[in-house]
Structure formats: C-alpha cells, structure tokens
C-alpha cells in the first residue's frame, strides 16, 4: 500500500526533505523566533521571576520554595540560542534516534521562554512571577485527556481501523461520567459508566466499519457528530430541567505519600487525580502489550497485513472488533477524565480534544511513548493558550488559542513527513 501510494503523492523528482531535516529546520526557526520575539522583544532591563510553590485546591501554600529571578532578555536569547543549536545539531549530524526527544527539549525551552517573557517586569524593582509548578500541573490535565484519546487511536489503528470518533467518545464519557458522579458522588462508578458507553460507541463504529465496511472516516465523523448532537439534545432535554444530574465535582487528588512532597516533581507527578495514574499505567500496559506479547504481535499483524494474519488462523474481524471496542473504552474513560478535570458537563466540553488526540497519534507515530510526548506538547499549548491571559500577554486570546491547532497542522504537514501508518489502516477487510 505504501509503495503504491507513494507513487501518487510524488510527481516531480523527489525533492522532499527528510523528516529529520524538517525537524531541524523547524527548530532553527523556532529558536530564531524565540530569540527575536521574547529576547529582543523584552526591554533590556526587565526581569522575570519563577516560583515553585505547590498550590493545592484550597489555594493555600503548604510550603515555600525559593524563587528564581532571571534577566528576561538574556534568558530568552539563551533559550533561543539553545534551540537553534539543537536544530543545527540535527541538521549537521543527522542523528537517527531520539529525534522526538530533541524536539521535545526544544519545545520545553520554547515554553520556558514564553513564560519568562510573560512574567517580565519593566525593571528590577517590580514583582511579577509565574508559578512554574502550577503551570506544569495545569499542562498535565489536558495532556492526560489527550493521552487517553491517542491511546484509543493506537489500539484501533494498530489493528487497522481509523477511529475518528474519539471526540464523540470523549463527549459520551464526559456526559455519563458527570451524570453518574452527580448521582453517586463516586468516581469509580463514573469511570465504569465511561467504560460502558465507550465500549458501546466503539462497538457501533466497529459494526459499521467491519460488518458493513462503511468508509471509516465518514462513519467516524458522522458518529462523532451524532453523539455531539445527542449530548447537546440531552443537555437541554434532561440536564437543564434536572440540574441535580449535572452537579458533579472535579476528581480529588490522591497524593502518594513521601513522593508527593518532592519539590516541583511531587505536585506534578505524585499529587494527581486517579485518572492520571490510570493513564500512566495504560501507557505502560499498552506499550508492553503491543510490542512484547503474543496479543500485540497479532494485533500489529492484523493492522499491517490482515490477509497474512488470517492465513495463520488469526481472526482478523474479531481482533479488530476487540481492539476498536477496547479503544472505545479507553476514550470513554478519557471522557470521564475530561469531566473529572473540568468538574462539570457542558455540551462544548470536548472542544476538539478528540481531534487533537488524533493528530497526537500521528505525531507520536502510533506508539504509546510517542503519543505521550505529543500529548504533553499539545497539553502544554492548550494550557498556555488558555492561561496566558492571566499573565497579561498583550496578544488576543483568540490568536493564542489557535496555537494547538496550528501546531497540529504543522505537525501533520511537516514533521511527520514520511511516517508510516500501519499498512492496512483504514482499509476495509474483506473475507474472500
């Protein structure tokens, strides 16, 4: 499949840049932008301050850490220079491994530069600061949701079915999770609700894609849209007259003793809600399952070459059903996680996360580990775009909110370059 399709997408002699070159060039551009916009864009004497105090839900600060005060212009110029250096290194040495890690490092520096710039003051006498810990905590929340979505995609697409209905599964999970939490005040039951509704939607998608071999993109888009309409309908028909069914609350944080007290890392990694720990476990489990077990080998065979899998007695259709339903379950739970983060259901709650998760899946090259990198990147963008306003950035929020979407377009058009999807991804399988 890849061979034949490559024929089509390329007409003139092959002048396409390699993936690593694109990444390198992008990093150089990013570094130049950082240095120009945040370094030279800041007044020479302005300073920035980072604090690291953990802030818990009640807004109290359990303990203090020192603050870090930096000269804005120099720091941002330095960050820019480092990103450029990273890009040049990629272009120069053409390393074969850890490209994403390098790009991730560049992205981290870029985010730091934004924050440095956002928290700058006009002179050394004034005080303005960014709490780095709360930025990280804030970025993790959307990243968790996105990871659920992308993992759902990994499960489906590794078996050869495109799941473009993640957005709908998110919404259904959030709706049911909110409903159950409002009634029972129990996140375990809410999660169970997400599992059931996700499985149900996964089964419907699988049914259309496998039993009737509908076009998977059409079926997915229509199914997602149907669920979103249904959510809006039920919101008006049920939740508005009976507000007691939409009275949930955010999931409580579960702090791991001792580890949770580590500065910075503690609040970010060990003082999160259950959905965070669950997704970490899922990433490890799916990664292990796909690449180390018999189950994973068979799933990947089904996604790459279903006929070959069938010829050794693997039931292609059944494998796909199971995986699409499992994917639905993961996305459904992701929907509950989305509600658990926001604390209340509203019709527009998903705001495109399902589709960003899809892009993250491609960016992460259909691997659980890659998906995590993508989710962190996009999650941080979402958080910053939503919160930069509080840091008094003199740019319209609408423009900032575009950031994750524009990054996604960049990712899909440039970075992934010649990344290979599972060869049979999206192609209906027919038994002879």
């Amino acid at each position: 499949m890849t061979t034949t399709l490559a024929n089509i997408s390329e007409t003139a002699p092959r002048r396409r840049l390699q993936r690593d070159q694109v990444i390198g060039l992008l990093m150089v551009a990013l570094g130049l932008f950082t240095a120009w916009a945040f370094g030279l864009g800041a007044a020479g004497r302005s300073q920035s301050q980072f604090t690291f105090d953990p802030v818990n839900a009640s807004g109290t600060v359990p303990w203090h850490l020192g603050a870090l005060t930096l000269p804005t212009r120099v720091s941002c110029l330095l960050a820019g220079a480092l990103i450029i250096a990273g890009g040049v290194e990629i272009l120069w040495r053409r390393p074969r491994r850890a490209l994403l890690a390098r790009f991730g490092g560049g992205a981290v520096l870029f985010f730091l530069a934004i924050l440095t710039w956002a928290s700058r003051t006009h002179g050394p006498s004034q005080v303005s600061f960014v709490n780095l810990t709360s930025v990280l905590v804030g970025g993790i929340a959307p990243a968790v949701v996105l990871t659920y979505g992308s993992l759902s995609g990994v499960l489906c697409e590794r078996a050869g079915v495109v799941n473009i209905a993640i957005e709908g599964q998110f919404l259904a999970g959030a709706f049911l999770g909110s409903l159950i939490d409002s009634v029972t005040h129990n996140f375990f039951f809410a999660t169970l609700g997400g599992v059931v509704v996700g499985a149900g939607l996964g089964a419907i998608l699988a049914f259309f894609a496998l039993r009737y071999q509908s076009d998977q993109i059409i079926a997915g888009v229509v199914l997602a849209s149907l669920v979103i309409s249904l959510g809006s309908y039920l919101n008006l028909q049920v939740l508005t007259p009976y507000p007691q069914y939409n009275a949930g609350s955010p999931a409580p944080n579960l702090m791991i003793p001792l580890l949770g007290k580590i500065p910075i890392l503690g609040p970010v990694l060990f003082d999160e809600n259950g959905f965070f720990y669950l997704v970490v476990a899922l990433v490890l489990l799916i990664s292990f399952g796909l690449f180390r077990t018999r189950w994973g080998l068979r799933v990947r065979a089904v996604g790459e070459h279903p006929k070959a899998a069938a010829s050794v007695g693997i039931d292609v259709i059944r494998t796909r059903y199971v995986n699409v339903i499992l994917g639905g379950v993961v996305a459904g739970v992701g929907g509950v996680a989305l509600f658990a983060w926001q604390g209340q259901f509203q019709p527009g709650i998903t705001s495109g996360y399902g589709y960003i998760a899809l892009a993250g899946l491609i960016f992460g090259r259909w691997r659980p580990s890659g998906v995590v990198v993508a989710a962190l990147l996009f999650g941080m963008s979402v958080y910053l775009a939503n919160n930069l306003q509080t840091y008094q950035v003199p740019v319209s929020t609408s423009i900032l909110l575009m950031f994750p979407y524009v990054v996604t377009i960049f990712v899909v058009s440039g970075l992934i370059g010649r990344v290979r999807a599972p060869a049979a991804d999206g192609i209906p399988y027919k038994r002879d």
Binding site: T2, T3, T4, A6, N7, E10, T11, A12, P13, R14, R292, T293, R294, W295, L297, R298, R300, A301, E304, H305, K307, A308, A309, A310, S311, V312, G313, I314, D315, R420, A423, D432
Partner: protein, 505 residues
C-alpha cells in the same frame, strides 16, 4: 499424510471455478497441479487451505473427512501454504513472521523470542533454508522471503505443503535452489502440492501431474510425457507458441535510453545504468525475472517515476522527467502492467475509458467542454475495429472480460499517433484467443513502422515476439541477443551472468 480431495465443486455466482475435482496426494510425493492462468488452481488450493468453503465434495486426511472453517484449522491439521503473493508482514522480522499465529510464550503472554529463534535455526538447518531470524522481511530479496514462507509452514508442522506458483518471481538459479529444497522436504516425508503452469519445472520435479482446465480435471500425466503433450492437455488444443511474424526492416532509432538510473519507493536504485535503443519497425523484448527493475523502467518511461540520472529521448526529443502528459503527447503509447489499477477506471464507461488519456484532445473536447457525441462516435469505431465485446459503449468497463479490457487499452493507445509503444506484460492473465489477438496487434504496430518495447516475464512470449531480446538483471541490461539464442543462454543472462562469460561457457 495422505490427502484426498473428492468431487470438490466451487461456484462463484454462475461461474463454476472448480467442477467435481478429485485428486490424491500420497505421503512423500510431489504432486503437480498443472493448468493455465484462470483454470481454477488457486481456487482449489484455497478450498483445501480453508480460505474458501466448497459447495460440494469433501476433503479427507488419512481417510478421515475433515472440514476447515478457516485456514487456521487447516494449518492445525498439518497443511501449509506458500502463497503466490507472500503472506508476510513486511515490517516484522523473520522470526516474528514465522511464529505468527503459533507463538511460543512466557509468563504474561510474553513472546519467547529466544525459543522462536531456536526453532527457526533448527528448521533452517534440517532443510537447508538459511535465513537470519532477526532480519526485517521487507529488506530481504524475494527468494529469501519465499524461504521464510516455507519456514513458516514448516514451523507449523506442515505435512502437506502447497506451493502456489512458487517460481513466478524467481531467477532460474533460485528456482534450482527451490527445487533442491522441495526434494529435501520430500525426503523428510513431507508431501508437496506444486501449482504451476510452467512445463519445464513441472516435468523436472513432479512425481504425479494432474492437469486441470476450466475448473475440471482433464487428465493426469507422467513427468516423462513431452512438453508438447502436457501443453496440449493444458490448453485443450495443439498450441503454437510461435507468432507468425514477417521479417521487417528496422528503421531509424525512435527511443534512446542512456545510462538511466531509477530508484524504487525504498530508495534502491532498481534501474541502474540502463542504455537501450529502440528503432522504428522493431520489437525489443525485455526479458527478466519480475522485480529486476522492468516495472520501474516502464514507469520512468511513462513519466510516473522520477529519473535520477541519465536521459530518455523519444524521436529526438528529451522526455527525461517530463510529465506523463507531455510524454503521452510526445507519442509514447503505454500499456501498463497492472491494467485494472493503472490503465482503466473500472467504474467508468467503455467510451470514457477509450479517451482516458486524451480527454482534452480535439475532437473530444472544445474549450474545456467535452463533446460527448464525438466520444461516443470514437467508442463505436474502436469497438468495431478492435472487436471489443461489450453491451454498449456506455457499459462500465468493469463489465468486460479481462481480454476485452486489454483490448480497450490497446485500442486507446494504438489509435493515437504513436512513435513508440511500450507494453508491459501485455498478455498476463488473458485467455489463449486474446493472447493471439494482442500479439497480432503488436506485430502490426511494428509493421506499421513504430518502435515497440515489450516487457514480459514469459520467456516464450519474449522469444516469440522480439526482434531483439534485452535481458535485465538487478537493474542492468545483461545483454541484447537475437531471439534465436538458446533458452539456456538467456536463462544465464537472467541470472546475472555477463554476456562474455556466457559466450565463453
């Protein structure tokens, strides 16, 4: 293991692919199923392998009737199959492919890669099938991939091995190696069902030959029977493999290929410094085992694959890396190898397909608007001239038989003003009548003074049609010889032996 097929019948709609077929494979026997393309061999094997369910008849293993719901069950009963199109996952390693479906595992369902590697090692030694278990399949040459397929079947403990057209993609030397492997498997007590339409190999290796034609068993033969006898059984009449071809004087050079280098999708230079001339009024036949760069060479000529270096000149005009449009307009006719994929739009009408690559040419369009009456008039003319059997010009081309589909393509190309015709595998999968017709058309094109390039993996076709025969191996032209050259010499060239060495031998 003794496997018996009794009265197997398989129908697809009104078409009967297998009609009451019975045959028996004894243990330690190489049993050949001989038949033309489309005779029903593959259908029968898919029935035996559990991929299709027979409408009538039964399968017996050691006298006991069995039914297979899927191929997994067939595998479990000791039947292994090496498919014509390999059933290997390209991105998996050899070991992963071999164990797929029968994976050794450790705790937690983990793959036991060590044991997988060991069992491959053992099997490779026993049957002389050397492969590196950790190699990625898509990076291996075809011959080795086939070994992986055989290993896979053996790893599943196959007692009966079905080999579906195993030699189609191999060089003569690889075929020899395969025959060696088949013999050692036979010595180890395995039975082999060998499907082929190539008489020479069949005679060389088989113990018993069953010939099928149009879904029926038409007879059994002995390997000692002559090729002519086998061939007449197979096609049902005395065949003449030679094409009646008048001598014809070749004219000026029409197509000049110089030091051409073309890469495949993986970046391998599969056409590696090819130079070739085609003159007006001659047929240059390009022989070679599939996958030695012929496909990519044709794609480069047609402009759908970029040329890395070198030049292509068509009648004095440089068409290197020109667009397909420019090349078509410059007078290159192209009969693509995969006609349904590259040559036709199956859902569109015969009339539209007849102007597929000239939709904007006069008189079929004027100022961006199509003239449907002209398109239809053209279609009626072509259908008459080329004897295309279709209900109407408006019928979708998918409703035509394979031979008539090929006629549509030929009619389209030959009715344009051409300088050179490039036809890749022009008769693949066609019935005998259509083959003769296509050959006739090609010879007439030559007689009309055009240059013709034929690419074919059928040596008989190459020798019958070509005025000169160029042999390709690993992206290089090994030599250009007269069609009267012996098959052995051409076989050596196809295997990559350089012409001087051949001459010296």
């Amino acid at each position: 293991m003794r496997v018996e097929l009794r009265g197997i019948t398989k129908r697809f709609g009104t078409f009967t692919a297998n009609d009451q077929i019975s045959l028996t494979v004894e243990p330690g026997q190489i049993h050949c199923l001989l038949g033309e393309n489309g005779a029903g061999k593959s259908t029968l094997m898919n029935v035996l392998f559990g991929l299709l369910r027979p409408d009538e008849g039964q399968i017996l293993i050691d006298g006991e009737p069995v039914t297979f719901a899927n191929s997994g069950e067939a595998v479990r009963r000791g039947i292994g199959m090496v498919h014509q199109h390999f059933m290997l996952v390209p991105v998996f390693s050899v070991a992963e492919n071999v164990v797929l479906g029968f994976e050794p595992t450790k705790s937690f369902n983990r793959l036991d890669r060590l044991r997988a590697r060991e069992s491959i090692h053992e099997a490779s030694q026993r049957f002389g099938l050397e492969v590196d278990p950790d190699a990625i399949v898509e990076e291996l040459p075809v011959g080795i991939q086939q070994r992986v397929e055989i290993l896979k079947a053996l790893n599943h403990d196959a007692q009966l091995l079905i080999l579906d057209e195993p030699t189609a993609v191999l060089t003569p030397q690889e075929i020899d190696a395969l025959i060696g492997i088949m013999r050692s498997l036979k010595d180890a007590g395995k039975s082999i069902l060998f499907i082929s339409h190539k008489l020479r190999e069949v005679r060389e290796v088989s113990d018993v030959i069953t010939v099928i034609r149009q879904g029926r068993v038409v007879g059994t033969a002995e390997p000692t029977d002559s090729e002519t006898q086998l061939a007449s059984l197979m096609v049902g009449r005395d065949v003449s493999l030679t094409v009646t071809k008048e001598a014809h004087e070749a004219g000026a050079s029409r197509l000049e290929i110089r030091d051409l280098v073309v890469r495949d999708d993986r970046g391998v230079a599969v056409v590696d410094g090819v130079s070739l001339d085609v003159r007006a009024g001659e047929i240059v036949a390009l022989a070679g085992v599939q996958g030695n760069g012929q496909t990519e060479l044709v794609e480069a000529l047609a402009g759908v694959r970029p040329v890395e270096s070198g030049t292509i000149t068509l009648d004095g005009r440089d068409i290197t890396n020109a667009t397909p449009r420019e090349i078509l307009d410059a007078g290159l006719g192209h009969v693509p190898e995969d006609r349904q994929r590259d040559g036709l739009v199956l859902s569109m009408s015969v009339a539209d397909n007849l102007v597929l690559n000239t939709p904007r040419a006069t008189p079929y369009a004027r100022r961006g608007s199509r003239r449907r009456s002209e398109v239809r008039r053209n279609a009626e003319e072509r259908i008459r001239d080329f004897d295309i059997r279709t209900e109407s010009p408006e019928a979708p081309v998918s409703s035509l038989s394979g031979g008539n589909q090929q006629k549509v393509i030929l009619a389209r190309e030959l009715s344009r003003p051409l300088k050179v015709l490039v036809a890749a595998q022009p008769t693949r999968g066609l019935d005998v009548g259509s083959i003769e017709y296509v050959h006739r058309q090609i010879v007439e094109t030559r007689n009309a003074g055009q240059g013709v390039v034929i690419i074919s993996s059928e040596l008989d076709e190459v020798l019958a049609l070509g005025d000169r025969v160029a042999v390709m191996h690993h992206g290089k032209i090994m030599g250009v010889v007269a069609p009267s050259t012996s098959r052995e010499t051409i076989g050596l060239l196809m295997a990559g032996v350089v012409l001087e060495e051949v001459a010296g031998a």
